[in-house]
Point group: C2
Chain length 629, copies 2
């Protein structure tokens, strides 16, 4: 219908006849013979001038225009003219021109809108906006985000094509797995009482594609997780999923580095240096207290375990320079809360906060291990000896008067994604930024590979605790650690790698087990799967034994990637139709109560709740941010 | 790991050191000092030569090689050399060269395979192959199909990018709709007892994207339908889905014509002529007895309704030239079956088969309307008059001695996708091809737009039968028919268009209703939705009234498109992990029985079947091949 969009037009079009379709922004009746209409579409805006002298039945037109609500759709024909010099607007793309209207026609009347999406300061709360998502999506920010997301996937696909990857769709109607505690079930009427499950990732299928001889697979895949929703989690999410045969860890990392380079260059016109630095999980947790450290700032943690030999405990310290001076009692409230709450975590034993002053350190006796060390093990030390010992300790961790000091003790048997001091570090960075005592540049992109994770994680704070797969049971052990599988599996490292950007985990992957005997051993002897669970994975073990090549892969979270590229604080701002924080589609009104008749077709019925058994499932303490499951 | 694939190598690599990874095809021990290994990967094959003189510990290597099963994975280093002249093989890409092995190492041993995917004639039945899909996918045909599918989607995406379409993901966790009789439900534990539904298409979301101001949307979208599976239906399927604002039917058709041109050019190096011919639904059903006619051959149907005025009945004839002579009694069995079975359809009244001979026509008296017409309405005709009347009838339909003649009567109140004579026409084309009396070129691509469908279809053979939407309730009426909405809605044509290729429906779309009043009127007054159903669509009507532009779109079935491009007879041959004919994943073993505990988490339980109420839902008589729902 239209010849141009508002975004197309500029002074070069002066004297041309054009036809535009767009939304009425506002209408100003200047006089009986002159009406200004501001028009907008997805690409820009344009000033229209309706004049009596040019339009037959102008008075009638004027009466119609006067009554139009904003966001009414009109179809307008006219001639592009230059604006009078005193009326130009350099801030607008079409600020030098306007359209002299020949004809204007209403395409669709708009009722008064529940809110205007164009006035940033006047937006209603998110619930109201989600209930009218089609209006909210007219916001310039969301238009930009969703369009940029499309450009991003296009750049990714182009890169994958260029590198010989085959785009293969894997099923959404997958098998319910015995361990899939957080999966959605899909009953089917083809065989009432049976269910498919929605996949948490295409993991098993992509490994089978490697067995099938597709040696470079990729997919931008929808995945699902039915869990209590926390900030920035959606029940459905999208990941860039890939898998390769005959490769090493370095091959996959190199592909991802070049992919990231391409995306940043295309979308942000920024050159990213490759290769990205590598850091071991051990270093990341001991130095930064996190398996996804933000390395744009220091505030590093110091290990004191060598100082205080307790073979079951890690002792570590974090110094916040000038923290005791900069932070008020009020500022310290969240720190006290955090330290208090973290005592409940299974790995955390005790974390204490101290101020360093010229006299020494406040309340150091609260830290049981350090006060015991200061007191000396065999002899009773005098005050001077204790002071000297303390000074040497403070020296070793570079703590000076005015600093804030955190000392933490935790179990060696459980290594969490974030230690207490890791959380303190993030909180401190935020607090120091607010005091202008620390600057974290937002245009700095510190990509980082975190590697050498333990292949298995203890489920309890106990040297003999049951082992579970740190990431997933298909991850291959580091070659050199293979003998430890039999003797000390908790010491085995996995060929897993996470890609981290500025403290955010973008994704993770691994080289997989391809030897059926190793895979069976892990299922049976280490993870201690029951025979029925072993059975449910037997087709995979069989496939490994039918000529499956060595292979590995990775998955990156697309939603998070686009959120970073658009500087969005919420994933909901980069998804066209997100669910609300509690998993609801507030526009379509999903989920909804299914009728008895609907359920009966699937051979199921609504259960009668017993003793409040309808409570939500428990939240897992560890952060399962890894996409490949 | 590898430096090349088998597909990379040719005579240009002679004297180069290379490293290959691949599957052992076969091993021939030629002598104590010489072993031939044939290696294959996804890109080609290569002959390896292991010689005692070049390899330390050759004897040991030979013993290992001797015992390897086919499809064992090996990693081999060596030098490319030219084959002796008497051993070259011009049929193979690497037939001029071979690899002199320095080192060979087993990457993964293969157990004996349940079947070899490489010997075409020896494949087991499809069930066995689906149960080992990773092996079946090694078949060169499936490798080709899946890789070509990726090339196809890549070409499509490139085209959409070039034309300014924005790729937008819409939710898979959708709302259960009151009319969605064939949708999958997804219970969620976030609110036990409530369900999402998997979308049958992104229809509502893409219309909301238009309301949001994204004027060119596309998506390659997964869709779901839980129904009794017939040939070539999968519970999940993929469609190329697009929607545009401010457009006419012709704009969308033009985009699709250029898209098809691009795909055929990229994938098959064939130039497709555009624009495609347009045909009205009325012409398609009256001439070809189908709303998706194969126009590569004639065998057109002739309408006799003018001849025999019965205002409730359509009378039509199909002549199969020389059919009475070419087809034996045995050949006619399927025709008799078809004609017999079709009497059960609600629109079909009577179809009779006749042989034309020099004396006249056999058994024409069985056709009640024609025999009545021959007998004359007012006067009694003599034999000669009858003969003359018959001759003129046969003349008018070009029937001659030796032809086979089908005469059919059907109700005017129901217009099916395929009439009885339409089915006879397809069957006849097949039969004549087998007799070499008809040639249908497989490399001819007769694209066709079928248009001007009735907007509503009667649900019963009755002038006052309830109306339902022929395609979906969002299709806009043809502008000129708008007044008929009030007076005679059954006569309203819709702005719907189907794209048909050689008798196969590739997809369909329409211009949508954008006026909230028209949409409400259709829901309430024509489709007679109950208040609760109206309520479930009210958010859409509201959105139309908040400045939704005029818009329209289309969806093409990707699986079917790729099946045509690869000449596959089954959709399962173009899907990496298809479900079996009865909806099962025979490799993963889905769907599976959910445990009571799993179901209890969702607040549901397995219903006790009452009086065998677990029967599958009834199959709808009409063919719902349209993708947009």
């Amino acid at each position: 219908m239209r010849t141009h969009t508002c975004g197309d037009l500029n002074s070069g079009h002066v004297d041309q006849k054009v036809r535009l379709c767009g939304w009425v922004k506002n209408i100003r009746v200047l006089s009986e013979t002159l009406v200004f209409v501001h028009l907008r579409d997805a690409y820009g805006s344009m000033q229209l001038l309706a004049e009596q002298s040019r339009m037959p039945q102008f008075a009638e037109h004027r009466r119609v225009l006067e009554l139009l609500n904003p966001d009414t759709l009109v179809d307008v024909c006219g001639t592009v003219v230059r604006r009078p010099e005193n009326m130009t607007n350099d801030g607008e793309k079409t600020g030098q021109i306007e359209l002299l209207v020949d004809q204007i026609q209403v395409l669709n009347h708009a009722e008064p809108l529940p809110f205007s999406p164009y006035i940033k300061g006047k937006l209603p709360n998110e619930e109201v906006r989600l209930a009218h998502r089609y209006l909210d999506l007219r916001r310039p920010e969301l238009q930009h985000n969703i369009r940029l997301r499309s450009k991003t996937t296009s750049a990714i696909r182009q890169f994958m094509d260029d590198n010989g990857f085959v785009d293969i769709e894997t099923p959404m109607l997958f098998k319910s797995t015995p361990e899939g505690a957080r999966e959605f079930l899909v009953p089917t009427r083809v065989d009432p009482g049976t269910c498919y499950a929605l996949p948490q990732s295409p993991q098993q299928f992509k490994q089978m594609l490697m067995a099938a001889g597709f040696d470079r697979y990729y997919q931008i895949a929808r995945c699902f997780r039915d869990e209590d929703l926390r900030a920035d989690r959606q029940p459905e999410f999208t990941q860039i999923d890939l898998e390769m045969s005959f490769v090493t860890k370095e091959d996959i990392q190199s592909v991802i580095e070049r992919l990231i380079q391409r995306v940043w260059k295309t979308i942000k016109q920024v050159d990213i240096q490759v290769p990205f630095p590598r850091m071991s999980f051990a270093e990341a947790t001991s130095k930064y207290g996190s398996d996804k450290p933000d390395t744009r700032f220091g505030l590093e943690i110091t290990q004191l375990s060598d100082l205080i030999p307790d073979e079951h405990t890690v002792v570590e310290a974090l110094v916040i320079p000038d923290g005791a001076e900069l932070l008020t009692t009020r500022d310290l409230v969240p720190f006290n809360d955090l330290v208090g709450n973290n005592q409940k975590n299974k790995e955390s034993k005790l974390t204490t906060i101290h101020k360093v002053n010229s006299q020494g350190v406040t309340g150091l006796s609260k830290s049981t291990l350090i006060s015991r060390w200061l007191a000396g093990s065999s002899d009773v030390l005098d005050q001077q000896q204790r002071q000297a010992k303390l000074s040497s300790l403070l020296n070793s961790i570079s703590a000076k008067s005015g600093d804030l000091l955190f000392v933490s003790e935790r179990s060696i048997y459980v290594t969490p994604a974030n230690t207490t001091l890791g959380r303190v570090r993030s909180l401190a960075a935020k607090a120091l930024q607010e005091k202008n005592a620390l600057t974290i540049p937002s245009d700095k992109y510190n990509f980082l590979w975190v590697e050498d994770f333990p292949l298995f994680t203890r489920e309890s704070d106990d040297a003999h605790g049951k082992l579970s797969a740190t990431h997933h049971p298909f991850t291959a052990p580091v070659e050199g650690d293979l003998p430890l599988l039999n003797t000390d599996p908790a010491k085995v490292h996995g060929q897993h790698y996470d890609i981290v950007l500025n403290g955010v985990e973008l994704g993770g992957g691994s080289i997989r087990v391809h030897d059926p005997a190793v895979q069976s051993y892990i299922f049976k002897n280490i993870l201690e799967h029951s025979p029925s669970v072993q059975d449910s994975f037997s087709h995979l073990v069989t496939a490994l034994g039918h000529g499956c090549p060595p292979h590995g892969g990775i998955a990156l979270g697309l939603d998070r990637l686009v959120a970073i590229l658009t500087d969005s604080t919420s994933l909901r701002d980069v998804i066209a139709f997100p669910k609300s924080a509690n998993g609801r589609d507030l526009f379509m009104h999903a989920p909804s109560v299914a009728t008895k008749e609907q359920l009966a077709e699937y051979g199921i019925c609504v259960a009668t709740p017993k003793n409040g058994s309808r409570k939500p499932s428990t939240i897992l303490a560890t952060d399962p941010a890894h996409h490949e499951k």
